[in-house]
Symmetry: C2
Subunit: 230 residues, 2 copies
DNA sequence: AATGTTTTGTGTAATTTTTACACATGGAAT
DNA sequence: ATTCCATGTGTAAAAATTACACAAAACATT
């Protein structure tokens, strides 16, 4: 958008989007942050985000900023809240429409060799800029509630995964422990997992069974009124 | 806010709030709408709402507009989504931060003798302006999900109510039917209802037991990790 | 005034869901 | 070679959910 002058009869806040990017691997749940090189909050970390253009809606903006600032294209982006405290940005009145993105950390690269972007485990977050600590708390809460009713966990795992991986993911997000047998039974009974046969013959149990998420079946079941609950 | 000229280097959308007002009585769940007297969407109905001022956050704005346009002061106002489609308002680019308000319809008056405000049962909504039909759908979904985990139903009932009233409320919001005994057992077991003794001696069962919501007890239980689930 | 109808409160048995729990296998590490 | 560890698997006990019927008084009808 070209710089110029735009005049209105009443003052308007700036509108931005921010994107909390969740990733998951053997280290657990983490978020991708960008180090601020300039004031305010120079040296603090922040979520990628920026001004909404006049020809894009909020989600489009969040996806664009995400890619511009980290190189990531996220499959899953969802709005979870809008933050409008009067003094949330010292530079001026700004309203931000906050999103979270779920990315398959295992299947993306770059991202953390991009500029100052870096993954931080959820239990070890550095000082954040603006009201981003609050935004992160709300994002986590939203993700936790979401995963009870929607199969969003699979957006964070490789497309082929094992039952222990899936359990680790749920345990990381919900911050609880499950019994292995009960977790497995419950998951399998949902009918949304497909056993992946990659040709290898399994002997013993040490090498785990591979699964993929059966999106088609989930969609069908959902259309028939099935409601995932975990 | 005084009219004048406000100039920015980049174009900015307008930011508004809208408020879906839910009420409940023997007719079931309904929403309070305002008839538009001017184009666009003249004659259509809309949620109360308006431009966010520079010195107020979104919820403050929603409450202010609610009172200005309907005379209602709502106890419970909560943001549930922000709508930013590029063409959602033909007059220009506008982003709206949508809220729902829960009001004790039985304990307010006015409201529907205010100007063109009128309650409509949820099953009989007139044509709505802008994208307000979509906003209403999302609001209903948000309310339905909310009531599973938070005791928001009591915001819609008189402060003293009966078990059948409470059941009607849940049935209206969730659009399901419950068995009377099971519903009552479950509710009472939650430990958030206090039996109200209004002095009258009950003979027989035709005149129902009165209850009130025990907010203090709920807060205490919640602090101890109790999580309401219905 | 008598009669029928509606609203409400209440408990238990059957079913379903959730929880707790232990061992055998073979790969990995020593 | 030995030990250690990750994984897969089933069942019995406990808990939660569901289904279900009658009695009392208020209310409506005649």
């Amino acid at each position: 958008m070209a710089k110029g002058t735009y005049t209105y009869e009443y003052p308007r806040p700036s509108v931005t989007t921010d994107c909390v990017i969740f990733g998951f691997d053997t280290e657990g749940l983490s978020v991708l942050l960008i180090e601020r090189g300039i004031e305010p909050f120079k040296g603090c970390w922040a979520f990628p985000g920026g001004f909404m253009q006049m020809d894009e809606d909020a989600e489009t903006c969040a996806r664009r900023e995400l890619e511009e600032e980290t190189g990531l294209k996220a499959d899953y982006v969802e709005q979870f809240g809008t933050f409008s405290d009067v003094n949330r940005d010292p530079r001026g009145r700004t309203v931000t429409i906050a999103h979270y993105a779920l990315v398959k950390k295992s299947e993306v690269k770059g991202a953390d060799d991009a500029a100052q972007a870096k993954w931080f485990p959820i239990g070890n977050i550095p000082p954040l800029a603006f009201d981003h600590d609050r935004i992160l708390r709300v994002a986590l809460k939203a993700l936790r509630e979401k995963i009870h009713f929607e199969p969003v966990g699979f957006e964070l795992l490789p497309s082929v995964f094992t039952m222990p991986q899936l359990q680790d993911l749920y345990e990381s997000i919900l911050d609880v422990k499950f019994d292995r047998r009960n977790f497995s039974n419950k998951m399998l009974k949902l009918g949304i997992l497909t056993e992946v046969n990659d040709g290898t013959i399994r002997k013993g149990t040490r090498n785990p069974i591979k699964y993929s998420f059966n999106q088609d079946n989930y969609n069908q079941m959902k259309a028939k009124g099935f409601r995932l609950e975990f």
